[in-house]
């Protein structure tokens, strides 16, 4: 145990860097994914037919493909057509597209769950469609979409570990590097597991806090 703690101390900075990168990747993906997802969710319900079809296709392809395959595709396909993404960029791209599809779908669900009377009432008092969306529909939808949205964030933190495959120095790869040097396989994997757990529990608690604030009025 003592030697393990010594090794953790020696490896503290690489592990810390890896942990930070994991968090950065997850945050970037959830921010970009939320932007894509909001556009996607609104288009899926209210967009013109062609746009509905394209976004439906996007959502189904993203949700029907393993994240690992998305990551490998984002890493290799752009370089075939001459766009050079580094591993971290490719990884964020893949996770954002993945998150965008999930958030789009959950926002569509949340919007659809609002009773149609709400939109009708908004129209009858003379609100335009953008106004209806901003003042009536989205505030209600966002409230019910919050728990699954946090869930997507948790999925992204866990999913970021797959980026180690394409050589992104996030927490898992940094852990594997330390194991490569110290041969302490089980100890360091448990250690990394605890760090992921801590990050996810924190995110979960943050989500619960926001939930309480938006619901309790």
């Amino acid at each position: 145990m003592q030697t393990f703690l010594d090794q953790v101390w020696i490896a503290r900075w690489p592990l810390w860097d890896g942990f930070l990168l994991t968090i950065e990747i997850a945050i970037s993906a959830i921010v970009l994914g939320t932007v894509v997802g909001c556009i996607c969710g609104i288009q899926l319900l209210f967009g013109p037919a062609i746009s509905r079809l394209l976004f439906r296709l996007y959502v189904d392809v993203m949700r029907g493909t393993p994240v690992l395959v998305l990551i490998l595709a984002a890493f290799y396909i752009p370089s075939v057509v001459g766009i050079s993404l580094n591993a971290t960029q490719a990884g964020i791209l893949a996770l954002s597209l993945f998150a965008g599809a999930h958030i789009g779908e959950l926002l569509r669900g949340a919007l659809q769950a609002i009773p149609p009377g709400q939109a009708e009432a908004a129209r009858s008092i003379g609100l335009t469609f953008p106004q209806t969306l901003t003042y009536v529909l989205l505030p209600q939808a966002l409230r019910s979409a919050l728990p699954p949205w946090i869930n997507t964030g948790v999925e992204l933190i866990k999913g970021s570990s797959l980026l180690s495959i394409i050589g992104v120095g996030e927490l898992l790869l940094k852990t594997q590097e330390v194991i490569g040097r110290t041969f302490m396989t089980i100890e360091f994997y448990i250690f990394a597991g605890l760090l992921y757990l801590a990050a996810n529990i924190s995110l979960d608690q943050l989500g619960k806090m926001i939930e309480r604030r938006v619901q309790g009025r």
Partner: protein, 281 residues
């Protein structure tokens, strides 16, 4: 309308020009590309000592890294002008084929099947499997292990071929497979296994880390050749890399290769024989 048409045609013309210049750039050798870029992009891993791994300070080190530095030394007279791209083992060939890296030095085993997809450089190491024993233990060397027959237990890393691999050298030995390197070595330390069988380079490195505790059985088998890989179809680049690597093993830059070999394998490689070039003998 006319204005739009002109813009459209001009746009297409620009695209075509772009494609043409891209074509011209790709017709140029990788060697020129690397020289004008001012750094070498090397694909390698970061989790396998003594080949490519991170030291306690987080720097990439190992024998593969030293080979990359020898090539950078030849290009720029400066071994630090390298950008390492971290890649998993199964990304070695795809990253070469899609042009993500200039060269990969990541203990790539030379096989004819792989040579259909990428170009191999000259080899820089011949890997094998060796047996490591606790010094002063029950068995002194390979002959003693073999003579003991089925009384011997050998620890190996879990692997589909592990059983056969051990039996090629010790036909009657019991084989204990372990999921990780530390468990495999622990089995040897605790006496649960009489010998550990794994890559010769890993054993050499491990013995260098723990001087006096272990001995090599003196027998190695399962040869496999390690080379760097580059993209096919660029003979100038392949030739340059070959020259840089060959001269590190036989010529002016031998001290670099020798220092790397001693550092990571704890042994001195044979000195190039002065006189007639031995590779033509």
């Amino acid at each position: 309308m006319l204005n739009k048409t002109i813009k459209f045609v001009a746009g297409i013309g620009l695209c075509a020009l772009g494609l043409l210049s891209a074509q011209a750039a790709s017709a140029q050798s990788k060697l020129q590309e690397v020289l004008s870029r001012g750094k070498l992009i090397v694909g390698t891993g970061s989790t396998n000592p003594p080949w490519h791994f991170r030291d306690e300070k987080g720097n990439l080190v190992g024998f593969d890294i030293e080979i990359a530095k020898i090539i950078a030394q030849g290009l720029f007279d400066d071994p630090t002008k390298i950008e390492f791209v971290n890649q998993a083992s199964d990304a070695r060939i795809p990253n070469i084929v899609t042009g993500k890296v200039d060269i990969a030095c990541q203990f790539v085993t030379v096989t004819a099947a792989r040579a259909q997809q990428v170009a191999f450089t000259v080899p820089y190491y011949r890997e094998g499997v060796s047996l490591m024993l606790v010094s002063g233990g029950r068995y002194a060397d390979y002959a003693a292990l073999k003579a003991a027959g089925s009384k011997v237990t050998v620890s190996v890393l879990q692997n589909v071929f592990a059983e056969k691999m051990v039996h090629d050298a010790l036909p009657d030995a019991k084989v204990d497979q372990f999921e990780s390197v530390d468990l495999m070595y622990q089995a040897l330390n605790s006496g649960r296994a009489d010998a550990a069988a794994t890559d010769s380079s890993s054993l050499r490195y491990y013995m260098k880390q723990n001087p006096g505790r272990y001995v090599d059985s003196g027998f190695s088998w399962n040869p496999q050749t390690y080379s760097c890989i580059v993209k096919q179809g660029d003979s100038d680049w392949l030739n340059f890399v070959n020259v840089a690597m060959r001269e590190a093993m036989t010529g002016t830059t031998f001290p670099l290769y020798k220092a790397a070999y001693e550092r990571w394998f704890g042994e001195t490689p044979p000195e190039p024989k002065i006189g007639f070039p031995s590779e033509f003998r």
